[in-house]
Structures are given as C-alpha cells and as structure tokens.
C-alpha cells in the first residue's frame, strides 16, 4: 500500500517537475505530459462526443490550451486532473456548438414535427417492436449510441463523468458551470432518459438470452 502511495506520489512529482521544465523553456518536455495523459483524455472525449474524429480533436485542443495556460497551472495540483478538466470543458463547448449548427440546418424539418425527434421517449415509442431474439448486440449498441446522442450536452457530460469516469459531483458541476444540486439533477435526468430509451431493448435481450439458455 505504502509502495503504491509512493509510486503515485512519485508520478505526480514527475508531472510537476516536467511542468517546471516546460515553463523554463524546455518545450519538448511537454511531450512527456502529452504521452502520459493522452489515453485518459481520449477515453473521456470519446464518450462525450461519441466518435473518434471529434475525440482526437478534443485531445489535441486540450493539450494546446494546456500549454498556452501552463503558467496558470498551480504546480501543487495534479496536471492530469487539470488538463482533464480543460478537455471536458472544450468537449462540451464543441458538442454544444455542433448541436447549434445542426439545429440551424434542420430547423425547417424540426418546426414541422415540433422537435419531437430529439426526445428519446418519442423515438422509442416510434420504434416498431422487434421480434424476440433478433435484438443482436450490434443493434443494442446502436440504440445505446442513439440514446446517448439524444441527451443534451450537459446531460451527456454529467452522465459520462459520473457513471463512467467516476468523477465527484463538484468536479462535474465545475465543468457544467452549475451548482451541486442542479448537477445531481442533471445526472438523475440523464439516467432517467437513458432508461426510458433503452429498457425495452435491454429487457428483450435478457429475455432472448433466457430463452436461448433454456433451448
């Protein structure tokens, strides 16, 4: 346990040392920080944006912004956490911007349907029931991606950071620029929406598996 603690502290120390080297003008030292933290940032960005291209853009932009703001980084804090937050902030801004652009392009169609196509409740109700045992994993995966896409950028961010990344409510609130109470409600609303959208398909898959096991 002590060894693990020492090892964690040593990793943090080395990040702090690398930050100092970078600030002293050793630009290539920043490479170590990029190589250490890229995979973590990619995982967060991929879950927030839902695709590889946007995730890669988010990671690059986060490190560029991190470099530009490195002088603002308090060396006693954790560089990984700091750049992670920059990535989360940029990812949510980027997704919001993309949604606004899509809304502008799709405005005429949405006006006709009253915006119903964005509500996961409606898209589930509109689905024709699929025959049992035909709900393959790939189809469920598609439904899950659609359900995540149907969340608002704040809901998706809150869900990703809380459920998959295990972040504290206060940390998520910082990214959403909201308070803890409102952030909790955003997490709860995201779970509710995902449940509404996915429960019929998850139940079908479980039933199909049970039938398969019996047969």
């Amino acid at each position: 346990m002590t060894r693990m603690k020492d090892s964690v502290e040593s990793a943090l120390d080395s990040d702090a040392i690398v930050v100092e080297r970078t600030l002293s003008g050793d630009r290539d030292a920043y490479r170590l920080l990029v190589e250490r933290h890229s995979a973590n940032l990619f995982r967060l960005a991929y879950r927030m944006t839902g695709n590889r291209h946007d995730a890669e853009e988010v990671v690059q932009e986060a490190f560029l912004r991190g470099y530009q703001k490195l002088g603002q980084f308090a060396s006693k804090s954790n560089f990984g956490t700091w750049v992670y937050r920059i990535a989360a902030n940029y990812a949510i801004d980027r997704v919001r911007q993309q949604r606004r652009e899509e809304a502008r392009k799709e405005k005429p169609a949405r006006d006709k349907s009253g915006g119903k196509e964005t509500d996961p409740m409606n898209f589930v109700k509109d689905e024709k029931p699929l025959p049992e045992r035909l709900m393959l994993n790939t189809e469920l995966r598609k439904k899950m991606e659609e359900a995540l896409d149907a969340l608002t950028p704040s809901e998706r961010t809150a869900f990703v950071m809380r459920h998959w990344e295990g972040c504290a409510i206060e940390e998520i609130a910082g990214v959403l620029k909201s308070n803890s109470g409102a952030t909790k409600n955003t997490v709860f609303r995201a779970v509710q929406k995902l449940r509404r959208a996915l429960e019929p398909f998850v139940t079908k898959r479980m039933e199909a598996r049970a039938i398969g096991q019996q047969g």
Binding site: R31, S38, V191, V202
Partner: protein, 87 residues
C-alpha cells in the same frame, strides 16, 4: 414506508441520497422497489458494455506529433494567475 420514486432509486444508486440506510432497509423488504432498482441497474450495466475505441499504443506519440508544430516557443507564464483554476 411508501414505495420509492425512480429519482430516489437513482439517487440511492449514485450514493447521493441522504436517507441511504432507510432505503437499504426498505429495499431488503420490498420486492417492487428492489425489482425497479434491478431494472435501472440492468440498463446501466448494458451501457457499461458500450466500447470505447482503442486509440492505439502509440497514441500519445501521435498527439505530440500533431500538436508540436503548433506550440509556441514558451508556454504562457503569468505568475499572478497561477492559483486560478482551469476554465
């Protein structure tokens, strides 16, 4: 105790419900609420199986190659701002 609302069950699952012990006791004796919690758990468990693409072992190196030409000679250093959080 009345049956739990969906919000209460989600809050319990997230570890964000103040009356946690009371709810635990209720769930132990209430099949309706425990089944409801199971259904929420099943959806979240299915979401856990949603894969994240693997960026590859040399991903960090590739990120560096992409951003290095865009970095200035020196990062911004403004000592009076060092205690501010990232925005």
């Amino acid at each position: 105790m009345r049956h739990l609302t969906e919000n209460e069950l989600i809050g319990y699952r997230e570890g964000e419900h103040a009356e946690r012990e009371e709810i635990t006791v209720h769930l132990a004796g209430c099949e309706i609420c425990s089944k409801e919690l199971e259904r929420i758990e099943a959806v979240l468990a299915a979401l856990d199986a949603l894969p994240v693409e693997d960026p590859g072992e040399d991903y960090g190196r590739r990120v560096w190659q992409q951003i290095a030409p865009r970095l200035g000679e020196k990062p911004g250093r403004s000592s009076w701002l060092r205690s501010l959080p990232a925005d």
